[in-house]
């Protein structure tokens, strides 16, 4: 089992974390076409490689971003969301 470093709680076993999907910024709903909006909602790049992902440390309720290579499963960095 993997260890993941929560930016607040430090290294913790992976089973304490919940995956929250790719970090994708919501476009302004009023300024996009239907197609662009649908792309935001549904289309994700699943190709193995470096990804920015949302992760949640469930016992403490901390959301943060992890930079993870989904090909090698290496987590290079974790940090709190900063607007």
């Amino acid at each position: 089992m993997k260890i993941m470093t929560c930016p607040v709680n430090g290294p913790r076993p992976l089973q304490e974390f919940v995956y929250g999907g790719d970090v994708t910024e919501m476009p302004c709903p009023d300024q996009v076409t239907d197609e662009q909006w649908a792309a935001y909602v549904f289309e994700r790049d699943g190709a193995p490689g470096p990804h920015k992902e949302w992760w949640y440390h469930a016992p403490s309720g901390v959301w943060f971003i992890a930079e993870r290579d989904t090909g090698t499963d290496e987590i290079s960095n974790t940090y709190l969301y900063n607007g």
């Binding site: 089992m1 709903p29 996009v32 239907d34 909006w37 649908a38 949640y56 469930a58 309720g61 969301y81």
Partner: protein, 968 residues
Amino acid sequence: MADPIFIERLPAAGHEWIDRDQRLCFSFEGRRYGAYAGDTISSALWGNGVRLLGRSFKYHRPRGVYSMCAHDANVMLENGETLNIRGDTTLVEDGMDLTAVNTVGSLRYDLAGLTDRMSGFLPVGFYYKAFHTPNWMFPNWERMIRDIAGLGKVNPAAEWKPSPKGYDACDVLIVGGGPSGMAAALAAGRAGSRVVLVEDTRCLGGSLCYAGATAPESVATINSMRDEIAKLENVEVRLNTSVRGCYSENWLAMIGPGGMTKMRATAVVVATGAYEQPAVFRHNDLPGVMLGTAAQRLAHLYRVKPMQRALVLLGNDYGYGVALDLKAAGVEVAAVVDLRETIGKGELVHDVKTAGIEILAGQCVYEAHPAGGLRGIKGARVCPVNSDGTCISTTGINVNCDGIVMATGWAPAGDLIGQAGGRLNYVQDAAQFRPDELPPGMFAAGRVNGVFGVDARVEDGGQAGGQAAAFAVGKELPARRRPTDEIIAPSHPYPIVKHPKGKAFVDLDEDVQIKDIVNAAKEGYDSAELVKRYTTVGMGPSQGKISNLNSSRILAKATGQTIGAVGYTTFRPFTQPTTIGELAGRRFHPDRRTPIHSRHQAAGAVFMHAGAWLRPEYYGPRVRHQAIVHEVQAVRHSAGIIDVGTLGKIDVCGADAAEFLERMYTGRFSDLTLGRCRYALMCDESGVVIDDGMSARLGDDRFYVTTTSSGSAAIVREMKRWAMIWGLEVTIIDHTGQFGALNLAGPESRNILGRLTGLDISAGGFEYLGFREAVVAGVNCRLMRVGFVGELGYELHVPAQHAAALWDAVIEAGQPEGIIPFGVEAQRLLRMEKGHQIIGQDTDGLTTPLEAGLAWAVKMTKPFFIGQRSLKIVEPRPNVRALAGFVMHDSTVMPSECHLVVDGDEICGRVTSIARSPTLGHVIGMAYMRPDQTTPGTVIDIRVEGRLVQAEVAKLPFFDPSNERQKS
């Protein structure tokens, strides 16, 4: 009864593993045998002269001792309910009653032994080819093959035995307690690491325990190292424990006497040693043919004379030591057959010569000669051979012997390295694979690392232990230097000799022969992975540990590739057979119980699982249906009480609380006034309904929100994420486990509640969808006047520690009206009569509020809410389906949830809820259907187990459409 058969062992000596003071008795195939405590089943049987220990899987050939170290897959036994016991490693217990698995009839008169004579008609890939022509015959063939195949018969009535699981952590885990592992433990222990040293046999020492002539000082070495280890308090030794799998980041599964331990190690030293590899020649599988280390184990650990007259086939100097060991055990060594043309000059070779043992260099065993009556072998033919395994002449000489001992080379026990993502490379000089790239925090030492001399192994282990200790504390790793090893080429590159009549076995588990590998190569299966699947080599219980290397050698030769290019098959957990029971361990599903659980138990509740929660389904002693009707009628006619403590309960506070709810939920909350609550519906970003509940205003900057029971954790999580992304001044406090809640419902509920509180709860004082904070039965309580079940009702939320007392007080107060508790099933029925949807039951992963009849709860005119943009795309389009109610007046055949609504060939929707309504006296339900079918009075077809039944679409709600009751 006759005395058990017992033949006395060799005189006590050295490092034996048997306790001669304890005699045991067991039976095998109906005959009784004596044994010493510490004997394995195989050592006891072999010591008593038994040669036929099992039958092979495919051809049912006779098999005996081969490895004596967990790879003897053909010696599997059954002891009552315990199946597939390995004879070579399982200790004899007094009174065991053993039979061999995989026989038809008995081990001696195995009817399936006929397959051996038919083997010429069972070529490689036979199953794939023969049994699919014609295709329709396959199911019959399959049934027959399944009857013949398989090892042991599971008794489904066997008693369940819990096998516990533990969790542990250490700085350095050392796998293997041989000289390199012990040296690693000493080095890491002295460096201050918390060390766990795991050894899968009963004592430390590894191969030194049976090294004999190959390492004369071995017993002294073991003892001194073991004593040194015992002095270190930070080194823990775990015997009889094997590491079965290595998962990401040094997370290892170990199984020992106490069950499974999941070990988190910062660094791992793999000192797992090497598997001795057999030679391949005709009849190399018969009882009496065994590995050099197997003969050494028999002779040294169990003091069993492995045979009377031995032929030693070897390809390295180690084998000369084995020959000396045999001689020391009183075995007559007929000759040493050295595959190499030039024999070594080492001390062991010299000793063999001095002992007067004949050495036949540049020769091979061309074939073994079976003795009649399943007694093993009676001799062998020795022929001159080239280094690539081709016989120069097949005339040769015949040698009489009842045993052939093979010492031709090794393969690293690199399973854990492979599982962890490391790589092994083929080293031509050493004719074997060696670890190349190791994942971070993993270190290899000893034979697995290609280091063979005892001193070299100790040095290698010490270095690995030092590196592991440094890694564990994040220090720079000390440099590693390969020790000088006196043994240069421990493996022969091709100890394989073809025979025109075959029966030269590469894999004993699966009866794979040389010709099978060659034929697979001819058919185009040119990599180790493909050959494995096509021929099943390495797929048996020993998982190729003593067959994969030879298979790769044959394949490489047949395809003209190097062994490195052919490669090896992927190492996967488990390194040794692991029972489902060991994995399953003890069931660990904590049930969540509400604070009122004990009251439900006392009231005779029948519980059901609702997500993680245990909830009363209904209350006994009535049978299910009658109980539900009884509970429904109480709520409709008088009063009932239900525990709704499983609902998600969230405080949303902060200056932006109202704005936050506006964005999270589809409805409007900024205009919700103090002391009021409102239905709250939540969508995801694609506009699909995901949750609902109530939202009450506690203050200007404070709301109390409920969610569905199953959704609470996810909703809290999403709320926290969006609050952070939007940067709103809002705090989410999850009270789900901290608050208990109950719903008092029914026409009498106001009267009952009135006896418990000073709050004005008159129709005008506490109106429908009102919210109050007040003292009820002496407890500070949040009250919501809601009507999920379609009656006058109050939801009371209190801190968990007061919930049971409040429940008692309400029941007590409701005695004059005959209040009773009702369960989840009654609530489901009540709400359906009232036409209320349950999110997740009457909606699915694609349902929009527009389809589910919830458009009224969606305020599209708001500036923003999650899902709004998607709903704006969907809204102008006609719905594909819509949720509607239906009734069935004739219901001899009653549909179930998820039965399809059809129109001819078209599937229009499905039933989401259905039940017989005690209030209305007929069957009511909700279903998705085509929007044009939703007009009340339309007759729809529902397909029930192939039949069509008719239902009539009805207007929702079925009951009290003017809401008089819940608003009263």
